[in-house]
């Protein structure tokens, strides 16, 4: 290529870049709706590319959303975090809280025609809890003493200790019921759910059709469902704008804001229990000095963050994972100290950092986290904390457990229906994902009480104390709870966004 040609192509590249960026919202064809007898219409959902489609391994929203359409949970959690029937039509609990008995709905059958039996449920949960298989769920279910089919449609779970959240555990994301003996769950998709797979081209799309024999009356409402996979959320939203898809869930606040002004869309925003957690490693310098932890907390203005980063969507945080949605447990008793960079600076000086503190702030590149990091950097600057923002792709940030190693990091935590989960996996001493490497005896004790007692009042008290401890000395800052966002073409109805978007009931959606 001559120098001249190169000049031209470079100029062209510049022009193309403008065009690309400016042309983000090009309109395209309107959605097609195919009329059918009862179930009608086709829905195209944008999602990230799913990686693992064996229920035992699935975790991302897109994976759960797909599996939730193909398979059924034994019991389900609704948008109010209440346990509701799914495959199990009804259940009972023994007085000592150690025996649970479920009766399966009649008429439930796998897509290959065979009925769903108690044996399938036993097989499913035995697999998930088998310590030999080392599945992610094995520790979740290690409290189960035994599972037996006490009839063709009746299953009995026996526990070792009482577990007030056992029903929630049973409706864990992974706990989709497979046909007994299934070996190729990730490719065969023989579920009992409202949709069956017609075709799947990995990294591109998955076509599903309504399961005409679905046992829940009136579901599914659609004749067909298509998952179209996108690399990032911006692209998904642009596809919705352009009419290539009908439904998008999960997106950064700013993108959602832009959709709110768009014609022809129904936008849904619900608060969730998910949050971004800023944490400082407490097992080594500088985070092992409580004064430093306190300084970080004093240097942060959570309200301002909630307004600018979350654009006021969701809920403001109080440094604890027990959010306002957990109405029974949430408490504002302990006041959150007001921002005071001066005091923070003094504390740092006392801790031996009279000239301030310089730290790398590691952030995954997803969601509002980079913005959060930038705002924190600016706020902390006043207190003499110089945070050097290091934005990493999610795969790098979480890969090789690097996120558990760094001193200062921001981690996103998804929404769970019970607060105990967060305590058990991220806060108690030695917890698997205790990224702050924090150890607090009082908190450990309270968490244990809350996790075992059957007394609701006692549990509420424990949670309140935990919230106090975290505000006082927890090496974490939780500035906000996410809102979950969704937007759908307004030709559809029945879209009830779940806090965990993947658990949104797609079978309830129908054409207006």
């Amino acid at each position: 290529m001559s120098a001249h040609q190169r000049l031209r192509s470079l100029t062209l590249m510049a022009v193309v870049l403008i065009a690309l960026l400016a042309g983000c919202g090009a309109p395209a064809a309107s959605p097609t709706t195919a009329p059918a007898a009862q179930r009608q219409g086709a829905l195209r959902i944008a999602f990230e590319i799913p990686a693992k489609l064996d229920p035992a391994f699935a975790s991302a929203d897109s994976e759960i959303a797909i599996l939730n359409a193909i398979y059924d949970y034994l019991i389900d959690v609704n948008t109010e975090s209440k346990i509701v029937p799914r495959l199990a039509a009804q259940w009972t609990t023994s007085a000592d809280g150690l025996t649970y008995t479920f009766t399966l709905a009649s008429g439930a059958a796998f897509h290959d025609g065979s009925p769903v039996t108690a044996q399938d449920v036993v097989w499913t949960f035995d697999r998930l809890r088998d310590p030999q298989l080392k599945l992610p769920t094995s520790s979740l279910y290690e409290n189960i003493a035994g599972i037996t089919a006490t009839g063709d449609k009746v299953v009995t779970f026996k526990l070792k200790q009482t577990n007030p959240f056992f029903l929630y555990d049973l409706s864990d994301n992974h706990a989709l019921v497979l046909k007994a003996g299934t070996t190729d769950a990730a490719t065969k998709f023989n579920g009992s759910g409202p949709f069956r797979v017609v075709s799947y081209s990995p990294e591109n799309r998955m076509e599903l059709a309504a399961n005409d024999k679905y046992f829940i009356a009136g579901k599914p409402g659609l004749a067909s469902l298509t998952f179209i996979f996108f690399k990032d959320q911006t692209a998904s939203v642009n596809a919705l704008r352009g009419g290539q898809v009908d439904l998008v869930m999960r997106m950064p606040s700013a993108l959602f804001k832009t959709l709110q002004s768009e014609q022809g869309l129904t936008t849904v925003s619900i608060p969730t229990n998910g949050f971004d957690e800023v944490r400082l490693r407490a097992d080594r310098k500088p985070g092992n000095d409580p004064r430093v932890v306190k300084a970080f907390k004093l240097a942060t203005d959570r309200k301002a963050i909630f307004q600018t980063v979350s654009l006021g969507l969701g809920a403001a945080g109080r440094d604890s994972p027990i959010g306002p949605l957990f109405k029974a447990f949430y408490s504002e008793e302990t006041p959150l100290p007001a921002r005071d960079p001066k005091a923070a600076k003094d504390l740092l000086a006392q801790a031996g950092y009279p000239n301030g503190l310089k730290l790398d702030l590691h952030v995954p590149d997803s969601g509002d986290r980079p913005d959060l990091a930038v705002v924190l950097k600016e706020q902390w600057k006043d207190a003499g904390i110089d945070a050097n923002v290091v934005v990493e792709p999610e795969s790098v940030y979480y890969g090789n457990n690097g996120w558990l190693e760094v001193d200062l990091g921001i981690t996103g935590w998804g929404s769970r229906p019970i607060p105990q989960f967060y305590l058990d996996v991220m806060l108690v001493t030695g917890a698997k994902w205790n990224e702050a490497h924090w150890s607090d005896a009082e908190l450990d004790k309270l968490a244990k009480t809350a996790g075992t007692t059957l007394d609701e009042a006692e549990r509420a008290k424990a949670y309140k104390d935990i919230q106090r401890i975290l505000i006082e000395r927890g090496p974490i800052i939780i500035p906000y709870f996410f809102a979950q966002f969704g937007a759908v073409k307004n030709t559809f109805t029945g879209f009830n966004l779940n806090a965990f978007a993947g658990r949104t009931d797609l079978a309830a959606i129908r054409v207006k």
Binding site: L7, T11, A14, G25, A254, A304, V309
Partner: protein, 279 residues
């Protein structure tokens, strides 16, 4: 060089409308880069939450972004950042490439052969890919980006220089210098380098514009300069998410990148024309 005849460089560049435009743009950006802090109304990272997402106004000429930062100030400081980074990077690459090209081309032999086989191997990779590979090992930071620019562009410059050297090294005036017993460095820098300069000037301008593009691209991909630095590419990438909320936060940096790249290119074209017309 000559006491007479050679018209001042700028007047040559202003002889043609296109290169005059390009040169003006580059000079404007240089001015902004040098004196920007004097007239930028805000700090590039200062967040005024209450003014977040304000459209352009007398208060915020280019509007305010989603975090309440003044886009104009960010673009201005961004010019300083990108011009210094791309400028320093391409300057170092030009110096290193010139040294490699001069010495290797003049000496020839096995060293030359091996070095340029290696360079060819580098050049066979697209520069963005090479940059990403390097950044993967270096980790993202301003210095890494600088190293990447130098690393990616040195072989390209060296190649250009070497090709000129190969064309010159057997010419009579080099042999005349050898007949005088001149030292190697004298021949390289006094006799050969001037012949390389025209091609080098164009190449330097080209490298500069590519470096701007590379820095922006890396920023855009999030592997280059880190937030909250007012890197234009980073601003474009962030602004993309808020395109309908704060379009100004996208369009101004995009416009700045395009304008500067086009400006440098038009100027490079002018430089090339001026030097070709002269030599």
């Amino acid at each position: 060089m000559a006491d007479e005849g050679a018209p001042p460089f700028l007047s040559v560049l202003y002889a043609q409308a296109a290169s005059a435009f390009g040169t003006s743009v580059v000079l404007l950006f240089l001015f902004v880069a040098v004196f920007g802090p004097l007239f930028a109304p805000y700090s590039p990272t200062q967040q005024i939450a209450s003014e977040a997402r304000q459209p352009p106004s007398p208060q915020h000429w280019f509007g305010a972004d989603r975090l309440g930062r003044d886009v104009f100030s960010r673009v201005v400081y961004g010019a300083r950042d990108i011009i210094s980074l791309a400028g320093l990077g391409s300057l170092l690459a030009v110096i290193a490439g010139t040294l490699f090209g001069l010495i290797s081309g003049y000496r020839g032999g096995l060293f030359d052969e091996l070095l340029f086989r290696l360079f060819d191997a580098f050049l066979s990779l697209p520069s963005l890919l090479l940059a990403l590979l390097l950044l993967g090992t270096l980790g993202p930071s301003r210095n890494s980006v600088l190293i990447v620019i130098v690393f990616v562009y040195t072989p390209i410059v060296a190649r250009v220089v070497r090709s000129v050297v190969l064309g010159v090294r057997h010419k009579g005036f080099i042999e005349a210098a050898q007949m005088r017993g001149e030292a190697g460095w004298y021949i390289l820098f006094r006799e050969i380098l001037p012949s390389v300069l025209p091609a080098l000037a164009v190449e330097a301008a080209l490298r500069f514009s590519y470096a701007i593009f590379l820095v922006s691209s890396l920023g855009f991909l999030g592997v280059g300069v880190q937030p909250p630095n007012p890197d234009w590419g980073l601003m474009v990438s962030e602004g993309r998410n808020t395109i309908s909320l704060t379009p100004w936060a996208l369009y101004f940096p995009v416009g700045a990148i395009s304008l500067l790249v086009i400006g440098v290119n038009l100027m490079a074209d002018g430089v090339r024309r001026a030097l070709q017309g002269e030599a």
